[in-house]
């Protein structure tokens, strides 16, 4: 906006959601060519503590690449890495309309809305997995050197965070899960861009379907079964409905139709085990940051309440009960 003048921030308010960053909604008003313009925006600032330790430049670049590729994401506008400007690095993106939830798609929504969101959810995943990461300029995400690497890298990464954030406590089921993941690595059939948190609760939607996929901070390159496994974990939607969206088997079938690739059940299972372990570790990170006073977010101590369901799912998967 080279000719824009008199920028004004209006209605600035902090909002919940996107727990890995402080998130603010506001309107930017400015004058240009004698006219007043307004644009709804979101600012995401690095937290003092929280669920994830992720790189904001990486997240911004991924959203920008996805926007260029035509995926449904908020338009990224501005990245500031200089912590001197607002205490911590931040970025600004367009504020898309629509609503979201915390996890499983709300049971109270109309079936027609659910069907449209489910269809969009898998269409967007298929589009994401069809992208060539080099053409998107995302080699910087660190391409695995072989098809064996994605499973090993992700299992080792989350095991390392578990060891870092468990506050000296031992969680027998989690320890067993990471040992199992290390001993049973799967081999991918291709390398794709992985969102890393592709699930219900991470998109904006309305009655016409999904408006934007959010929270790209865990994006990396890896196995396409990783996002599918994460999205269809029991944790995001109990019973038969994956993510509260669609009956699980129908969900897999629709994925196959949309992508043209079959669902590899062995790899899917591996990534569902990894997903439960990863989510449990994310809870431990939030708890640690709360205990060690890096965050005062009142939601963090409640992460403890999510652990029984995750550990129970892991125990069932690994035949520990």
């Amino acid at each position: 906006m080279p000719h824009a003048r008199e920028h004004r921030v209006k209605g600035l308010k902090r909002i919940s959601g996107g727990s890995s960053r402080e998130t603010y909604a506001f309107d930017l008003e400015w004058s240009e060519d004698g006219e007043t313009h307004t644009r709804p925006l979101i600012g995401r600032r690095d937290p003092t503590g929280g669920l994830l330790k992720s790189d904001r430049e990486r997240e911004f670049n991924v959203i920008a690449a996805m926007h260029r590729a035509g995926l449904k994401v908020p338009e990224p506008l501005f990245l500031e890495l200089d912590a001197g400007v607002m205490d911590r690095p931040f970025f600004i993106m367009h504020r898309a309309a629509g609503q979201t939830g915390m996890g499983a798609f709300p049971a109270a929504e109309a079936d027609s809305t659910r069907a449209k969101v489910a269809d969009d959810f898998l269409s967007e995943l298929a589009r994401l997995q069809s992208l060539e990461y080099r053409e998107c300029g995302l080699e910087t995400l660190g391409a695995p050197k072989s098809l064996e690497d994605p499973a090993r890298i992700q299992a080792a990464h989350w095991n390392e965070i578990y060891e870092r954030d468990r506050l000296g406590e031992h969680y027998p089921i989690l320890t067993a899960a990471f040992a199992w993941l290390k001993s049973n690595p799967v081999v991918s059939d291709r390398i794709v861009i992985v969102h890393g948190d592709y699930r219900s609760g991470n998109y904006l939607y309305d009655e016409n379907g999904i408006i934007a996929m959010l929270d790209w901070e865990m994006a990396h390159l890896g196995d396409p079964m990783e996002d599918l496994g994460w999205a269809s974990m029991m944790f995001w939607g109990r019973e038969e409905f994956a993510g509260g969206l669609m009956e699980r088997e129908a969900f897999y079938k629709l994925y196959e139709q949309k992508t043209g690739h079959r669902v590899d059940r062995e790899r899917l299972f591996f990534y569902q085990v990894l997903g439960n372990a990863k989510m449990a570790v994310i809870c431990l990170t939030g708890i640690r940051d709360f205990v060690e006073r890096r965050t005062s977010d009142a939601v963090m101590p409640f992460l403890e309440l999510l652990l029984p369901a995750l550990l129970e799912d892991l125990a069932n998967q690994l035949r520990l009960v």
Binding site: P172, A179, W180, G244, L306
Partner: protein, 150 residues
């Protein structure tokens, strides 16, 4: 008895947040944080009441499980698994006063790993599975089985 009791204090803090702070908070984010703080205090009160019994039951169950494993013949513990020495450490931890729960849980993690990897036979695995089943049940009773729902 000292008054207010801990429960009365917690309940009072919740009323302070709800009745004195909430009406002054205009931002939805701040209101959400205040509601979370009230819920956290409710959780704290419940945990304060239930945690001692939970902890005692955990220690008792770990101790009983390791005692049951110790009674099994050596043939059930393959030498290369190292589980006999893990069991010896767990037994020493259980005999301490107070018992070293952290060391017992570390030992249980080694046994759970052996079960998950199929490195031990069923006579050992059934004791480990029994403990894990009971542990999950106790955790569910203490913390509930919450899920992120929208």
């Amino acid at each position: 008895m000292l008054r207010p009791t801990l429960n009365e204090l917690i309940s009072g803090m919740q009323r302070t947040i709800m009745e004195a702070l909430m009406p002054e908070l205009t931002s939805p984010y701040a209101q959400g944080q205040a509601m979370s703080a009230i819920a956290m205090l409710t959780h704290a009160a419940a945990v304060l009441e239930s945690a001692p019994a939970y902890d005692a039951a955990e220690v008792k169950d770990l101790r009983a499980t390791f005692a049951a494993l110790k009674r099994l013949d050596d043939k059930h513990f393959p030498k290369k698994s190292g589980l006999r020495s893990v069991l010896a450490r767990a037994t020493r931890a259980a005999a301490k006063n107070p018992p070293d729960r952290n060391a017992m849980e570390a030992a249980m993690a080694a046994f759970a790993t052996a079960v998950a990897l199929g490195h031990i036979d069923e006579s050992v695995a059934r004791h480990v599975r029994g403990y894990i089943r009971r542990n999950l049940e106790r955790s569910r009773q203490l913390l509930g089985g919450s899920l992120p729902t929208g």
